[in-house]
Symmetry: C2
Subunit: 168 residues, 2 copies
DNA sequence: GCTTGTGCCTATGAATTCCATAGTAACATG
DNA sequence: CATGTTACTATGGAATTCATAGGCACAAGC
């Protein structure tokens, strides 16, 4: 019995399949999450995702090649780069938001609270899980949102950073 | 230098990370896509995703274990199953929709048209890419949508099915 | 000027996963 | 009783992933 891998899958018209060739990977999505959280440095991303440096390096390289991420020099001598989202990368936000909504709703027990609470600047009230604002009903856009981490999640992230620094 | 893989990643409060442990895989997402397209049989999924039978079998098993998919007998003697989305699986639709929107917008040249056009039953007009209806502005829900495949995409899928049947 | 620290990776080898191909099981149909 | 249908399982090589270790280019402190 034969499979049908004459890579028709890569030439499909299906946008989901196209998207998945770019972001169909756990680490890639977690890296994008960090970039949306404004973590721009290699080590921060490494610490918060828990991936090995090669995984991060390879994914960042691919994300750059695919046009979602650009490198920016923040220090010459020694040469240091940081990673930023391009327009194409920023445009991925709705997917992250939808993934967050699904994860909060279906991958958690009720007693665990939200990791992040969003405030909708447009109306000044809590935005909820989207895609529309739970307070004013308008569709959510990243530029109108302020994220605040729950204390527990904040501590979790700080602990990861400390643990990372401690044993390197 | 050490990495930080005391699987804190699996115990995180982050909903995106939680979701990714379930759906952070190319094949898994493509299988879900097929289920949303109402393809319920193993071989249909296999033909349209281009994955090998083990990949499909393993992913379906995990999706069932994770509660996104349930198996239903559609024929005893010989015993045959089909795969259906549970509530948890159905709830994943916004992610697929967001992925579709991003893929259509950023992973295609303008000359290639949409693969699928959605009609918003609520207003009777084209729904666009979401998350809100481009015609009436209301948030899109799967139950209010009818999908029509573009002829080109329809042919692409038929061709894959024929090719699959031809050499099995 | 020599050691220690920082930031961003690369190297290596073992473990795991993936994938192409082939084959099986349990029947129905002619 | 031979062929077809549907849903898988088996096998072995290729590719990827992971844990651990190291390297390079500099800055800062002593």
């Amino acid at each position: 019995m034969k499979t049908m891998n004459d890579n028709t899958a890569d030439q499909t018209l299906c946008p989901v399949a196209r998207a998945e060739t770019v972001v169909g990977d756990r680490w890639t999505v977690l890296i994008l999450r960090e970039l949306f959280m404004r973590m721009h440095r290699f080590e921060e991303i490494q610490a918060q995702t828990g991936a090995t440096p090669q995984m991060i390096a390879a994914r960042l390289k691919k994300l750059e090649a695919d046009g979602l991420v650009k490198r920016r020099v923040y220090n010459k001598r020694p040469l240091r780069h940081e990673y930023q989202l391009t327009k194409k990368g920023e445009a991925f936000y709705p997917v992250i938001l939808a993934l967050r909504a699904w994860g909060e709703t279906w991958c958690k027990s009720p007693r665990e609270g939200r990791a992040v609470n969003l405030t909708h600047l447009t109306c000044g009230k809590p935005a909820g899980l989207g895609p529309a604002c739970e307070s004013c009903g308008k569709p959510l856009h990243r530029e109108d949102l302020v994220a605040e981490r729950a204390p527990k999640y904040q501590r979790e992230r700080e602990a990861r950073w400390e643990a990372f620094k401690a044993n390197r």
